[in-house]
């Protein structure tokens, strides 16, 4: 207890520094997942991708990142266990951050595809279960989280399959694909806008203290039906803006049957910009928690002078800190990462990319709303496989898919092991 009172501000600074570093790493590395497909399919230039990623990652982290942050902060660990020794929880959370950051750094240097989510969850379980006591972990909750890692790629795969199949039926396999594309693409935009804004309104806004919007003539209560109206309203705006851009495209009118798909792709490229925004938003909303969840835990304990308050809000500055961290990572390294990718793939056309991104973004955002920390990469891989199942992609490298799956099986024990090491060191240093 004394340790927290005497060293409180230093501990918070430590946690904030590592948390910011983690967020920075997420921005630098994972931006590929959010924006790569858009750049790869040439729907966006690198510069546009960076700007979109910055805006929407931040928005996602700030507006919709609260629920997952809460899970990481207090969902995995049974706080009652630490009532007498809050300093252990503080040390543990800082160790978990250190462990995850270290592992990500090593993996990035070696070029291994690892998940930030798996690292941090593994690290938190590690220090709590092995450093303190296995009763300190809420195993039921952990089981739910790990289960979600298996289920979310499946769900996003199924959604991607359905979306791509519907696009084939409604647009490609018709007499006039171009007209059909112009007609139906705004509907997909509506869908994207609706899911994202609904989850944000229902689950995200309360973390930034916004419960209702006063429109002058009526007040929209976020929790009630007002939230749905607002989501529909936002989605319609998205669809209308998309429609305007679609009518502005210059089509090659003389294009005959042999090249008409090129024109259709132009319509999908606009849709792809919308889904890229969604993906960046979804990524921000889920992954920001990996960096700042433990930080939020530390801050809440220190602010309460060592009391573990079960029902305290996340400190106001934490979500934006994570958001800025991600944006900083993007600004510094995103360019390089995206450039590598842009050359890497040319086999993904916007008509497939949109299906994968839309499915993954919806799944991730819904998981964020439910407070489940999931892996964005794996959800996207699931979605890509879904499009592949619908026979939309010429070739998918299954050995790479296997590597991604293996990497998370390895990440859990490594994250846990590292966190135990750091935890032991911290305990020794401070007591």
């Amino acid at each position: 207890m004394d340790i927290i009172l005497s060293n409180g501000s230093m501990l918070v600074m430590m946690a904030a520094a590592v948390g910011f570093f983690m967020a920075w790493g997420i921005g630098a590395n994972d931006v590929a997942n959010a924006m790569g497909t858009s750049v790869g399919s040439k729907a966006l230039t690198i510069k546009q991708a960076i700007i979109i990623a910055m805006v929407f990652e931040f928005a996602g982290a700030y507006l919709a990142g609260g629920e997952v942050t809460s899970t990481i902060r207090k969902g995995i660990i049974d706080a009652n266990f630490f009532v007498d020794t809050p300093e252990l929880l503080v040390f543990g959370m800082i160790s978990a951050l250190f462990a995850a950051a270290t592992w990500l750094l090593i993996a990035s240097m070696l070029g291994w595809p690892v998940s930030t989510t798996h690292s941090i969850v593994g690290a938190i379980i590690g220090f709590a279960a092995f450093g303190v006591s296995s009763d300190a972990v809420v195993w039921g909750k952990v089981l739910g989280i790990v289960g979600s890692w298996i289920i979310t790629p499946l769900i996003s795969g199924v959604i991607a399959f359905l979306i791509f199949n519907s696009a084939q039926k409604l647009i490609f396999d018709t007499e006039k694909p171009l007209q059909q594309a112009k007609r139906y693409v705004p509907i997909y935009m509506f869908l994207a806008g609706f899911v994202l804004s609904l989850v944000t309104i229902k689950k995200g806004l309360k973390h930034i203290g916004l419960d209702s919007i006063d429109l002058g003539f009526t007040v929209l209560e976020m929790k009630g039906p007002g939230g749905y109206y607002l989501a529909v309203f936002v989605a319609i705006i998205v669809a209308i803006i998309g429609k305007i851009f679609i009518t502005k495209i210059n089509f090659d009118e003389k294009a005959d049957k042999n090249t008409h798909y090129a024109n259709v792709e132009k319509v999908f490229a606009i849709l792809m910009i919308v889904t890229a925004c969604c993906m960046a938003f979804a990524h921000g909303s889920n992954d920001v928690a990996n960096a700042i969840g433990p930080l939020a835990a530390v801050v809440s304990i220190v602010d309460n002078g060592g009391e573990i308050a079960a029902k305290s809000a996340i400190a106001w500055w934490i979500l934006p800190l994570g958001g800025f961290g991600i944006v900083a990572g993007l600004a510094l390294f995103g360019h390089k990462v995206i450039a590598t990718i842009g050359h890497g793939i040319t086999h993904l056309t916007p008509s497939r990319g949109f299906a994968a991104e839309l499915a993954a973004a919806c799944t991730v955002v819904i998981a964020s709303g439910a407070g489940l920390p999931i892996s964005t990469t794996q959800t996207l891989v699931g979605a890509v496989l879904g499009v592949g199942m619908a026979r939309g992609i010429a070739a998918i490298n299954l050995s790479v898919v296997r590597n991604i799956v293996i990497s998370w099986v390895i990440t859990l024990p490594v994250g846990a092991g590292l966190s135990i090491v750091f935890f032991t060191i911290m305990k020794a240093v401070f007591s």
Binding site: A107, D173, I341, R391, I393, L398
Partner: protein, 226 residues
């Protein structure tokens, strides 16, 4: 860092190189038209040059074939069956091989085509080459087939192309019968060994359309399985 992302998941598309290969094969066969013109005019230097060009195209197609095979490791998840795709590829390649054999045999023996047969022979060659081009067109549709997920409208279109291919092949069979009969009528006036080889050349040229038809058949299997 590049590998630390989703994008490694996408492998190189096998469809584009497959199209490129059949285009090269068709171009290779096309050389037979000027080749036979030169042979009819007994211009053996030009014929030799064309034969060289033809062999080079055949070799290029071979290289492409090998490259494509190497780029299709077992762990690929594709909308088409891997074995079907490779079978289609080797069928395509056989067309080019046949064209090379024809040019090689004629040039090697300086085999002359009897003047009375020259006109119908040229038509016969042209018709066979049409078949190879039709096959190439059908393969070219694979990309769009992928776009629509191998069903509906595009499949109908390809089926129609394959029907046309079959019709051309039937046509060449009839032409072959007529050509053989005409050759038999004048064979007493010719060198017996040359006559033997002329029959063989007629058969080989007819094989071009047969092989092209088989490419169409493999394509149909490719579409039907999934």
């Amino acid at each position: 860092m590049a590998r630390n992302s989703i994008l490694g998941v996408f492998a190189k598309s096998p469809i584009k190189p497959l199209e490129k290969h059949i285009r090269m094969v068709a171009k290779c066969c096309n050389q037979l038209i000027p080749f036979f013109t030169a042979v009819s005019e007994k211009d053996w230097t030009t014929a030799g040059k064309i034969r060289k060009k033809l062999s080079k195209l055949e070799r290029d197609a071979d290289t492409l074939k090998r490259q494509l095979r190497l780029e299709l490791p077992g762990g690929l998840f594709m909308p088409v069956d891997r074995a079907d795709l490779l079978e289609l590829l080797s069928q395509q390649d056989k067309i080019a091989n046949k064209a090379k054999d024809i040019a090689g045999r004629i040039y090697g023996r300086k085999l002359e085509i009897p003047e009375s047969l020259q006109e119908s022979f040229a038509l016969f060659v042209a018709r066979n080459i049409e078949a190879t081009e039709k096959a190439a067109d059908a393969i070219n549709e694979l990309d769009d087939l992928l776009e629509t997920g191998f069903r509906g409208r595009e499949v109908d279109l390809v089926e129609k192309m394959i029907d046309q291919l079959d019709a051309i092949e039937d046509d060449t069979d009839e032409m072959q019968v007529v050509l053989r009969r005409d050759l038999m009528a004048i064979e007493d006036t010719l060198n017996p060994v040359d006559v033997m080889f002329l029959y063989q050349i007629i058969e080989w040229v007819g094989d071009l359309a047969d092989l092209a038809e088989r490419v169409g058949a493999r394509l149909e299997i490719l579409l039907a399985r999934k």
